[in-house]
Symmetry: C2
Subunit: 422 residues, 2 copies
Amino acid sequence: MRKIIVQKFGGTSVADTDKIKNVAKIVIKEKENGNDVVVVVSAMGHTTDHLVKMAKDLSPNPSEREMDMLLSTGEGVSIALLAMAVQAQGYDAVSYNAMQIGIMTENIHSKARILGIKTEKLKRDLKNGKIIVIAGFQGVTEDGEITTLGRGGSDTSAVALAAALNAERCDIYTDVEGVYTTDPRVVPHASKLKEISYEEMLELAHAGANVLHPRSVETAKLNNVPLRVRSSFKLDNLGTLILGVEKMELNKPVAGVAQDLSQARIVVCDVPDKPGVAAKLFSKLAQENISVDMIIQSYARKVSNTNDIAFTVDKADLHKTIAALESLKTEIGATGDIEVDENIAKVSIVGAGMIDRPGVASTMFETLAENGINIRMISTSEIKISCLVDKEQAALAVKSLHSVFKLDSDVKADVKGDLPNI
Amino acid sequence: MRKIIVQKFGGTSVADTDKIKNVAKIVIKEKENGNDVVVVVSAMGHTTDHLVKMAKDLSPNPSEREMDMLLSTGEGVSIALLAMAVQAQGYDAVSYNAMQIGIMTENIHSKARILGIKTEKLKRDLKNGKIIVIAGFQGVTEDGEITTLGRGGSDTSAVALAAALNAERCDIYTDVEGVYTTDPRVVPHASKLKEISYEEMLELAHAGANVLHPRSVETAKLNNVPLRVRSSFKLDNLGTLILGVEKMELNKPVAGVAQDLSQARIVVCDVPDKPGVAAKLFSKLAQENISVDMIIQSYARKVSNTNDIAFTVDKADLHKTIAALESLKTEIGATGDIEVDENIAKVSIVGAGMIDRPGVASTMFETLAENGINIRMISTSEIKISCLVDKEQAALAVKSLHSVFKLDSDVKADVKGDLPNI
């Protein structure tokens, strides 16, 4: 039985007709390799920006339903053009939007989740030797309403299709060459990872990577679909394979080092040390749709019977957070100040291999100490250790950790384009 | 019971966001008049040209299926934007593409005919007070294939929707102010017609009018849907109402004068006068998809037992026609030359009122004779008389006929934009 490969190409890969011709070549090469090929594409380059601009001209707050109607036309253009480009090379190709094949989603606009994909039509076309080109980012509800999947939507479409079709692999073609051990702009000798586990990728992504949206990685993990991230412009480079940890060839204790400069630290001082206070505080922030990352509560001071609660939020949410805290301060009986520090960075090491290897955390802390870097907060998960440090020391922290965990490459990374922020 | 008005806006009426705001005002005004409103829109301005250009970059001969996929995205953009513009004024609006509401067509790409329209969803939305915005020009087959309707497609969508919804009227908003008695570029005192019958409009359209595609007029006639053609930029002008002849207030013998400069005359000389020759000739042309307009066969010459067959074709088909005739000449035993004359014009008078009013034809012939215009060929239908004249005499013929049949207006027509060629 022939294997099915799902390929996904983002907006920069199909930005103009020359680039679409390049994509057609990649698609045909996979077909020539003896595989069945299903291609998922995003809207061309800046199409979405252009559509959004027109919408804003017409309405300060356009309805999400009509925004989905509008934005879904973007992929409608790129799928038809790619199918034509493949046909022009003498191959049979057919394009479908989400409604035509039935990429079924929840009835929620602008950020729907995929509920299921009908595969009869696709399987019949593949059997007939056709290359199938499918619109990413969009879906349809049972009532025939057009939805979009939100950020990272096309990646999610591709992974969901790979899962539904029981595909051999889902190849995400993008403008970066793969997943690096850290941001090559910070560490020029960052290594491109040959493999990484879903879990590690998720931690790296949440810690600031922008190669793949966490949702698509989660979908791949859930369905155990191997993902390959690679460049559509450098085909000699196989990129990075993302797969289940059990399938990985080797597990270094640390797979990558990430820095996140987008967070701010907030300390609510002198909070009464009694049950329910923290719950009240964080449920208030959750109501306001503010994501909180690291949380530390100090030991209670014996004299005053109060403690301090420190946490980090995205800088974009800072004003909203302070407003929420001010209104809550009296209610929870906090008597101290609300301290804000934007001059911080979160540096994380990530690795599935750290689970059964003791000493990784102490190596991290010692390395930072040796480099004169003060740790302001610490948080850990099974496969990640994050330290909050002063922003100006972040690059030094990343470099020294990258080196001590033996992630440096012999060759300098080729830093071009929109590099992953990990 | 509330009346339903279907409105259709062409590409120039929705060419940019300012124009879309203008359309939203027109739509809302109709709603404020107490009617239910269903709006059909075309793709914005030059969208289609842009899409076609990209397709040609990718393939010299793109598949019609993928062209339909591509072009149908154009209306997808304009419907969503118009719905947003209406919503921004505080009215409830919803946009649908052809697939969502079920504008069912034949399974033929690029020129499908509408088979039927599902109206449940539309009726429910109208009942809920919504203004409905629908993509023109496109349809869907039973198998979920996207089709387009070819030239004049959006007009046809609008008329078919008006018929399916049993609408009070279908208003075609365009960049001309209505249907004129003749081309105001030829006769500055051409009158805008207040009313015209379907039949007259069809004859005028086939004789060179470009206000409405004949297919939409035919669909309106078949379903007895009153059509109004009016300008989306001059709203004080009610345009021209096109309706059944039995509903018309008055019937002038002649409603309009048309000229057609796009035809060429061909004479096949010395054709044997025996049965089946003409049939052979014209079925050959039909096979080649060549439309023949006027046909005249001369009386047979007693001596040679041959006659001449003269007819007109569109100049675009001239080369194809000559090639077909050359290959046929021996087969039908024609011994004379094939004469071609491109220096001709067809001048027609059209009017449902001429049916029971004798003397219209003789007035036409006399008027042309008085002006020194030689008639080269004549053809007639129930409501039209066409004369082939020398091209340089066409304008004089139109002017004199326009005057003799009392069509001149007191005011000079406001000649702007893309005027109807009638």
